[in-house]
Each structure stands twice: as structure tokens, then as C-alpha cells.
């Protein structure tokens, strides 16, 4: 074991073992479903990273999922569940479309203003969830869930109401936004520079906040011991609100990416379930920002490569979702029952380590 410690930290080894076991259990589930895990994972790999178009989509979806997971990690640090992440992403998308449809939409200023608006709209919606929790004593899970559907209703209202297509009201979405508001690609191989810059900078900012600022320390301590926090004369409510505000702003950016890089318009349920997937990613990444990026990339490969499953193996489109959710479920079970630790100990004993 001592030899291992030179190369790996105990935590990362345990997490790796838990993830490996979860993947193994998921493979067994796939076999039970009559699917070959090997062919499935190879097809997903081929369909996701072996083409420029698909690789570009992997980058975009990794950005969206990472931002969702970051938002969850921020509120988890305050010991709060942010189920409202889908709604905050939808509000971010509304903010971005609002700018793109305005007089700025056809100018160079559009993209920076879309980003700012998405952060503001998402942040405010996150703040509402926090206010319901701190001022209205509404459990954040129910408040978040309710706000998700309020946001969905708001989009439907906008799409068939004030922002309806020229001449007709259709739930297929608003008119396409001006091309100046589309997030540009870098070079010919469709490198999605803005989504990557957005989630990369958010990663660095959040790491800085948690590692170097008193705000980060307070966000963490309000989650770990609220009573002690109050005794120090600090207001837990204020920092919970901060947490929701930051989370909403971060995931609002994912909404802007959905508009600027993928849809180029506002459509009902524009969040596409990525917010909910962000919850799974935050859980399986042990609430660590860097691991969340790796898991997001893996999940993004599953989403993008999933379409290949249909074409190559004739498998149903729901399979990537089954793989994602079962990995998380098995991971939770394995971590809680400490099977992975027992296995590490057994292996190290059999190799003669203490």
C-alpha cells in the first residue's frame, strides 16, 4: 500500500476503484438487457471522439454538463440541493435570447451581453430559490422542483406569446436569432471556443473562490456546521443566498451555450435534462470540480456516441441514459457499503502489503 501511495492519493484510488466497480455492475446490467457492453462502449467511443463534428459536440455538451455540475457543487458546499438547476439554465437561455432578439443582437456586442444576461437571469432565479428557502422556509428541493416547472411554463408562454414566430404561434420555438449572436467556432474543425472558455474560466474562478477567499471558506463552513457559523456572528442565510446566486449564474451560462452553440433559438425545455444530469455528475464526482469535468466528458461521450448505437448496433436511444444513471446508482451503493475499500484491502493483502 505504501508503494501505491507514492503515485496515488488514497482518496483517488478509492474513487477510481468505486467507479470501476460501478462500471462493472453497469456492464452486468447491460448483459441482462441483452446488450454487449464491449460493443456498446466501442460504438460510443467511435461515435463520440473519432470525428470532428462529434468531437465538437462532445466539447459543447461537456461544457454544459460541467457548468451544471459546478452549480450543484456550489450549493452542495452549503449543504443545499439545487434541484432548480434546470430552471436556472432555462432562465439563462431566456436571458441570452432576450439580448439576441434586441437591437444588440446583430452587433459584435451581442455575445458578451448574452453571457452577462444569462448569468443575471440564472442568478436571479437561483436567488429566488434561495429566498424561498431562507425567508419562506420552503424546502429547497420542493422550491427548486417547482421553479423548474415555472421556468418551463415561462418559456412556453414566451414561445407561443410575445416571442412567437412571424405569423404563427408554434411550440417548435422562436425565430432563429441573428448569426452575429451564434457562438463562433475556432478554425475549420469546429472547435467550440466560447463554451470551453466559459466553463474553463468558471472552473478557475470557483477554484480560486474555494481555495483563496473567505467567501469560499464561509460557503463551505455554512454547510458543515450552521450552528457554529451563527455563533461566530455570521448570517447563514446570507451565505446560502450567495450559494444559490452563484450557482444560478454559473448554470445560466449553460443556458447561453444551448442558445448560442446548439439551438440558436428558444425552445420549450431547452435545458434538455442536462441540469438533472449535472446532479448525477456532482454526486459521482464526490463534489470535486476537476473530477466533475472528467465525469462530464465521459457522460458527454455517452450522449454524443449514443446516436451511433442506433445506427451501428440498432440499439435504442435510451441506452446512454441507462448507462449514466446506473453508474451513479451503483457508485452510490458501492461507496456507502465500502465494497471498494474492502476490495482494495483484499488486493493489497494478497500482494503482501500491510
Amino acid at each position: 500500500m505504501a508503494g501505491m501511495n507514492r503515485f496515488y492519493s488514497k482518496d483517488s484510488l478509492e474513487n477510481l476503484m468505486a467507479f470501476g466497480l460501478a462500471l462493472f455492475c453497469t456492464s452486468i446490467l447491460l448483459v441482462l438487457l441483452g446488450v454487449s457492453p464491449w460493443s456498446t462502449f466501442i460504438a460510443i467511443l467511435e461515435g463520440s471522439v473519432l470525428g470532428l463534428d462529434s468531437l465538437s459536440r462532445v466539447f459543447v455538451i461537456t461544457s454544459i454538463m460541467s457548468l451544471s455540475a459546478f452549480a450543484l457543487i456550489v450549493t452542495f458546499s452549503c449543504n443545499m440541493w439545487n434541484i432548480g438547476v434546470e430552471g436556472q439554465m432555462m432562465l439563462g437561455a431566456i436571458g441570452a435570447v432576450f439580448v439576441a432578439r434586441s437591437f444588440i443582437g446583430d452587433t459584435l456586442l451581442s455575445i458578451p451581453f448574452m453571457i452577462i444576461a444569462a448569468m443575471c437571469f440564472g442568478g436571479i432565479f437561483g436567488l429566488i430559490c434561495g429566498l424561498l428557502k431562507t425567508k419562506g422556509s420552503v424546502h429547497e428541493i420542493f422550491a427548486g422542483l417547482g421553479l423548474d416547472f415555472v421556468a418551463a411554463g415561462l418559456i412556453v408562454y414566451l414561445v407561443i406569446g410575445p416571442w412567437k414566430k412571424e405569423g404563427i404561434a408554434s411550440t417548435s420555438g422562436t425565430d432563429i436569432i441573428p448569426e452575429m449572436s451564434w457562438f463562433p467556432h475556432l478554425f475549420d474543425f469546429k472547435f467550440p471556443i466560447i463554451p470551453i472558455l466559459l466553463f474553463g474560466s468558471m472552473y478557475l474562478i470557483l477554484r480560486f473562490i474555494y481555495a483563496k477567499t473567505s467567501l469560499g471558506l464561509k460557503l463551505k463552513s455554512v454547510g458543515s456546521n450552521t450552528n457554529a457559523f451563527s455563533r461566530l456572528g455570521l448570517s447563514p442565510d446570507m451565505y446560502i443566498l450567495f450559494g444559490f446566486l452563484i450557482a444560478g449564474a454559473v448554470v445560466g451560462l449553460a443556458g447561453a451555450i444551448q442558445v448560442g452553440s446548439i439551438y440558436h433559438k428558444l425552445v420549450p425545455y431547452i435545458s434538455g435534462g442536462y441540469g438533472f444530469l449535472g446532479i448525477l455528475i456532482a454526486l459521482v464526482s464526490g463534489r470535486k470540480l476537476s473530477i466533475a469535468i472528467v465525469v462530464s466528458a465521459f457522460f458527454a461521450c455517452l450522449v454524443v456516441g449514443g446516436s451511433t448505437l442506433q445506427i451501428k448496433l440498432g440499439l435504442h436511444a435510451s441506452l446512454p441514459g441507462i448507462i449514466q444513471a446506473s453508474i451513479v446508482l451503483f457508485w452510490l451503493m458501492i461507496k456507502a457499503s465500502s465494497v471498494h475499500i474492502k476490495l482494495i484491502n483484499a488486493v493489497s493483502k494478497s500482494y503482501g502489503h500491510s
Binding site: F142, V150, A169, P268, I279, G321, L329, M333
Partner: protein, 316 residues
Amino acid sequence: MAIVEFEIILAAIISMSAPLVLAVVGETISERVGIVNLSLEGSLLITAMIGFAVASITGSVLLGFIAAALLGGIIALLICFANITLYINMIAVGFTLTILLGKLSSYLGQPFVRIPGPYVPQIEVPWLKEIPIIGKAVIDQNVVVWLSIASIIIAWWFLYKTKSGLVLNAVGENPYSADARGINVKFIKYFYGTLGGAIVGMAGASFSLHSIYGWSNGHTLNYGWICLAIVIFGGWNPVRGAIGAYAFGGLQIMALKLQGVLFGLSQVLPLIPFPLMIMSLILIQYSQDKQFIPNRVRSILFGNQPEHLGDTFKRG
């Protein structure tokens, strides 16, 4: 003429709401004992699929319901095991299961998409169906509708008028006090959590074998979330919850009638319970904090959230 039309509309509301009423009753029992079954959205989907699949293969609607109830119970048992034995946060497990079960229902349900299959038959009750209003609305229906109405009465009576109901409520309100009084908290949570899940399973089968015949991808989409909202709107009381479900059924009928006039109403309608849920929760808390309504009246109007709802019980 007006009475006949009223009878028809009332019968349609009661019939259409039956699966949601069953789901609300099941989740209310589960939440009263402190278990939040957040897998509801996925549970309803997969039990609707299994109920229809088993009924189609065997030709027996009853077997379809039994299979769905068993599966619903097993899913709830898994959540109980994860939370009560492994101490995993029940929200995390429930939420993960929602996504997994929803996708599994699409995958496993492929052979049954849009095929004709059995459904719960109407039962003729010769004399009683002639009773004004009740005859048409309640009696001239099928077993699912009768079961949904019976479930409200039985659940209310059980929760508030029996000793076992008192024990169930005590565990949900304060498991530690209940434990100190010698109640087997873990067993009670396991038992009623699983029972609630089994009733939810029957609700799932009611969708595919009664109100929305057959199976298609996302057959009961959003009904699980709507059910969670209605349980809260109903203040964790099966009677108020059922009223919420019937009100939602009424809105659905209204939307069908107004679809030609008000475009988009059918899209917005499923979202209405959610702001109502938030407002209910604010009112419950506000009235509790400000004490401007006597406790007894407040409890009748809004109900009480079980004190330890969603908490993981760990014996000191």
C-alpha cells in the same frame, strides 16, 4: 340537460384522475413515515409499462396490476434499503432512480409501443347507476375508479383513526422519540415506504390499463412530478391530496374543451400545480411562524409537513 352534462363531466374527471389519486395516496403514506420517494416520475413510467406488458402477454389485467404493484414495492424497498440500511441520502437515490427507470421503461417497453392490449372493463351495476349524479359519476365506472376512491377513505381512516396510523405518523414526525418509546422505527419505515411504493405501482398500471390505454415512450411524462407537487399542496393529507388530484383532472378536462380556443393551454396546464405547491408551502410556514391562525384551523387548512421528512434516521 345541464345536470346530464354535469354528470358526464364529473364522471370524466373522476375517471381521469383515478391513477393520480392512487399515486397521491401512495406517496402521502410514504412521506408521512418520512420517506420521500423521489423516484416517482420514473416509477410511474416503468410500472405503467410493466402493467401493460404483463397484461398484454398474459391477457389478464389483474396480473398486470399485481406485477406493477410488486415492481413499485421493490423500487421503494430499494430506496428504503439505501437510506435506512446504507444511510445514503434518499433524495440522491430517488433522483437517480427517476432517470434510470424512465430510460429503462423506454428501452424495455419497445415491443409494446402503440399496440392494442387489454384494459380494465366497465362494470354494469343495474340499479345503483340510476342514482342521480353519484350513479353516473361514481357507480357507473370500473374497479380502478372504485379502488381510487376507496384508497382515499381507507388511507384517511388508517392515518388518523387507528393506532397503527398513529405509530406511522409518530415515526415520520420524530423517529428518535418513537425509537425511545420502543417503536421499531426501521421496520415501520421499510414497511410503509414499500407499501406506498406498491400503491404507486398500481397507479402506474392504472394509467396504461385505464386512463391512457396502452404504452408509448414517456407515457406518464411529468405525472410523477405533478404527484409530488399535489402531495405537498394537499398538506400530506390523503383527502386534501385527492381533492388536488381531482382539481387537476378538472383542469385537464377544461383544457381539452378549450384546446381549440386557447392555443398552448395543454402545454401550460401540467405546470399549474407547481406554483400552487410553492404557495402552499409558503402559507404553511407563514401561518406557523406568525401564529395568526389557530393551530387546529391551520392544520385543517394547510396540513403539517412531517417534521423529519426526508431525514436519514441514524440511531445514536
